[in-house]
Symmetry: D2
Subunit: 359 residues, 4 copies
Amino acid sequence: MTDFVPTPTLPAPDIVRCAYMEIVVTDLARSRQFYVDVLGLHVTEEDENAIYLRSLEEFIHHNLVLRQGPVAAVAAFAYRVKSPAEVDAAEAYYQELGCRTERRRNGFTKGVGDSVRVEDPLGFPYEFFYDVQHVERLTQRYDLYSAGELVRLDHFNQVTPDVPRGRAYLEDLGFRVSEDIKDSDGVTYAAWMHRKQTVHDTALTGGDGPRMHHVAFATHEKHNIIQICDKMGALRISDRIERGPGRHGVSNAFYLYILDPDDHRIEIYTQDYYTGDPDNPTVTWDVHDNQRRDWWGNAVVPSWYTEASLVLDLDGNPQPVIAREDKSEMAVTVGADGFSYTRKDDDTAAEGFKLGAQL
Amino acid sequence: MTDFVPTPTLPAPDIVRCAYMEIVVTDLARSRQFYVDVLGLHVTEEDENAIYLRSLEEFIHHNLVLRQGPVAAVAAFAYRVKSPAEVDAAEAYYQELGCRTERRRNGFTKGVGDSVRVEDPLGFPYEFFYDVQHVERLTQRYDLYSAGELVRLDHFNQVTPDVPRGRAYLEDLGFRVSEDIKDSDGVTYAAWMHRKQTVHDTALTGGDGPRMHHVAFATHEKHNIIQICDKMGALRISDRIERGPGRHGVSNAFYLYILDPDDHRIEIYTQDYYTGDPDNPTVTWDVHDNQRRDWWGNAVVPSWYTEASLVLDLDGNPQPVIAREDKSEMAVTVGADGFSYTRKDDDTAAEGFKLGAQL
Amino acid sequence: MTDFVPTPTLPAPDIVRCAYMEIVVTDLARSRQFYVDVLGLHVTEEDENAIYLRSLEEFIHHNLVLRQGPVAAVAAFAYRVKSPAEVDAAEAYYQELGCRTERRRNGFTKGVGDSVRVEDPLGFPYEFFYDVQHVERLTQRYDLYSAGELVRLDHFNQVTPDVPRGRAYLEDLGFRVSEDIKDSDGVTYAAWMHRKQTVHDTALTGGDGPRMHHVAFATHEKHNIIQICDKMGALRISDRIERGPGRHGVSNAFYLYILDPDDHRIEIYTQDYYTGDPDNPTVTWDVHDNQRRDWWGNAVVPSWYTEASLVLDLDGNPQPVIAREDKSEMAVTVGADGFSYTRKDDDTAAEGFKLGAQL
Amino acid sequence: MTDFVPTPTLPAPDIVRCAYMEIVVTDLARSRQFYVDVLGLHVTEEDENAIYLRSLEEFIHHNLVLRQGPVAAVAAFAYRVKSPAEVDAAEAYYQELGCRTERRRNGFTKGVGDSVRVEDPLGFPYEFFYDVQHVERLTQRYDLYSAGELVRLDHFNQVTPDVPRGRAYLEDLGFRVSEDIKDSDGVTYAAWMHRKQTVHDTALTGGDGPRMHHVAFATHEKHNIIQICDKMGALRISDRIERGPGRHGVSNAFYLYILDPDDHRIEIYTQDYYTGDPDNPTVTWDVHDNQRRDWWGNAVVPSWYTEASLVLDLDGNPQPVIAREDKSEMAVTVGADGFSYTRKDDDTAAEGFKLGAQL
């Protein structure tokens, strides 16, 4: 196991929430079709190189930037901090960690001002900003409300080989763990970490990394998610539905995973729970609990464990991917996931009892 | 292919709708727990041998009879006819067909009067009755309305080896086809047939039969079905969720398949469409259309194709199961179902593109 | 009370369902905005004089015709009959009744063939047709599915002075009563009557008539109706929401009443119940039951009782309106509706206990 | 206008959220029926004098205490603070303000430890605590999930004569304003104030006070609120539905107001929006905007403006009620609310155009 990231002496920046992701797409027009025509995100601004999108209830300039580029990847996981001074704090914090940082007073994207981007100790491109252009919050623009409307950016999800290392680093940065998945040998497979009062602003999924597992948008209700599936069926792109819809064990949210034209994974998510109390109970799931990833016991498809997006360094080159050394969640649950025990001490169950498994 | 069932010269009985199913269960207390405590069906009446259950909006005595017995099976698929005279018509009709019939003026079950049961040409125990005890319709008893409330019996589904033969027989009996699944060789894999103004009162699924594939209850909305999944998760019986929830291609209904303690399959179903016009368009699906069984392209689990309940003859003995000779839907779609084309002329699609399939 | 309509010796035409309404609007562009842009009905065809609209799951040419004209009114309540011969039956039936009839082999509107229109004994312009152009059924076009999507034409509602007279006439015509509102003096205030297997194809509301009270479209779920309200709020036309949303006592449906630019009243309606059995129990409500019109006891606004649309004779002139002689529902419930008893034998309740009533 | 509350020199306690309300009820058994049998709140603990209730997703001992007493009133609005030390901070803060305080190391109610209660400058009994017993969080107990399940305590609402005075005091205490209602003369009619990242933890409604306007619980979706109405209809207590359901203008939440057996008002509330950013835009509504209180323009019933619950001092005696001197929202909108303009520059609108208003 790699050495832990040292804890800086400087105070961590005061992070408010995950705010936007910048992704590189290889065909901007094709991606626009997916995010705007299919998913209904709202265009704040666009030019030939980039499209700035926001969800219905957002009042900052964007939650997602699509940028045309040669290789599909993620250019930034951007967090909003509590004040302009916290951008300074972020820069100093990462410099103490020995990370490469880049400060731009006019921001890295349109609509955002003074920002710092860093190559963080896990290899991810993190951004911190406060200054941002306010735009019309469309909350009550029900004349624009589509049947599958996305109303908020909810969270990021990052793949990293060593989850405890990443978790300790993010805890130092001020994140708190709401839930995690472990086994009886002490291996951690995933952890959910939050700043705002939901289950997560980002999660760490154990695997070869650094890679971006998904970015998630929230809907108001479950039927909105079902409509997205129905619409993808109508458009004959049901093969881009990767997993779900279903009910998560972890987070309790109703979920759906879909793939954009570059295979960037998008989660649609609704109805997790309030985590704002300082002693919010952490929920630990056993990796052998078949309901942890899907409360209904539906199997996780292998691609969901293995596929993820590259992330870029500050020069725009893909970060090399380091293999996970710990046991993989897929390996320990294969032939079992979707089919293994859901009741303890159930012998027949241990052999798998969804009949489908036996064929 | 077996010879077709002859068309009687006598008029077919005027069937109103599917009305109830009588099933044999091997542990009545355990089944009660499933149908009453988990699914929330309402008990009209019960004794040590049988439980009479109805859905919220039903006004006749029952939609489901659970009867204790040695072998799990289906004792009757019961249809309501339009008047007392139609019971006579049914008896005469099946007698002309050469089928064994049994008439009971006081009914075969509590709450039902003059009835005839027959061993039909496909080997199924069909019942026809008009006279029935009216009970409180609980439609506005919202004080009894559970989060996953079942509000109507919707349909039966029967497994039979030769679908065109069964279809022609049911058309003679007055059923009309709303949808079917075929291939370009002219093989029919399944057909949906109705008397009331919904997609079906019963469907024929091609396979080894006669067997009962499932019986379906309707909910008001989609979230009611999701709640049933959530509750089964909470009760740690998620392994009894066999397939779904999902959106059907055929029928357009939102669906879920679950298994009772004897592996009788129950569908929970909502929001198909009106079929009452005489020229209601029949929808034919290509068996190779990956969205026919699940509009979102999620794979059908093999057990759903292979497993089904035995049916009883009028002496209460299981009918022998005859193998299907035509191609099986599972066989022609395996390695493809959930993974095959959804867009015509899509070469890569033809090879299967859900990554999960390749592992 | 007027004499009852005589029962013809000829058989009544076999009516399938309410199929479309033709309404005259005074500003076609303004009405298009309401029905297409706000409500999302689908345009089958249009020209400078008329727009032909259908709901999502419809397969016949239209459910609503908007025709430009000088006076807002209803030109036809059109029913589909079971076969071409039933149009002849309808013509003969009304001729025996002494009603004026007009037969057009090429139909009165685009998309509809051989039809007969009549001035019925209550003064309403009824149409009967079988032949109609089939169009794309948009059931699974979820790419077109708006958040407040209207999926079916559900029913008409007619205002007539003498409800028992109208009811007897419609019963002769083959309609069956599902529910009605009466008082202990034997006065009937309203009756709901069906051919298809729902609560109604049309209803009779006691009042000055003949007038059209409303035409109703169904949504799939309750949230679709709420979205229509939300959208009307966003468009700052909340003053066109006349009543609701709410839960009906009668029919148990979730409802909303809105007004089009000519004050034609539209109901949006979802989730009534199956009425297809021959002995479907009729529900009679006491006019003094405060939950009959709104299950939650919310008051009916007076305009809902008093306002309605004129109907045209076969020359296109408005039919004269005859005053109701029986007690009016509004009068017997005023000062009480929304405030009167909901529990029998509750003395304080009898005086009205919603505090708002006392101010 | 009364003098403003002075700003203390001591730091305000760091409040996490509204946590519970203690209310006095005059018939504990009758209130239990309402809160447990009708609304489905979960009993953590009870004895002959008090019942401790919590919502589904709560992990602290209770969100509502019902205590038997002679006069219906509110004994405490309790907030959770961030650490044990913040209870000291709260005590010192209110002592500097000259308020009466009472500290109890073992808490005022079961399940809660070290607490301070104060008679705040507006006359309300506020409590601050950190130490609390954790109990089972029922989030995934879908076997207990009722169709109208209440999942979180959302907010309090307090009636006070001078809203700007109360607002300044609460801003000093660390609350931030999300929305308010004003007029062009500068009168403030109401303000919504939050600590957690929702629209409010408490709101100030201008009126005779100190009184408690309502306490609000959240559901997951809108249909859960509709079910509560439907159930109250089924129980024939529809007269206890005071207002709604509807969509708020302010907060954008879907809402319902009901009355408990002592006329304490309960709001059921769902789907407001995220307010956690430091520069979350404040929304100011014009008191003459007819959609501010109900986005669909439905009238506010007068009782909603005039009726509210008494609050107790620390001896358990009702606080005297001081009359509001500023204009009342009801007075400035009467004859208009539900009927006034929704579109600026609409002359006819200004006169009121819901036809019901004219009768």
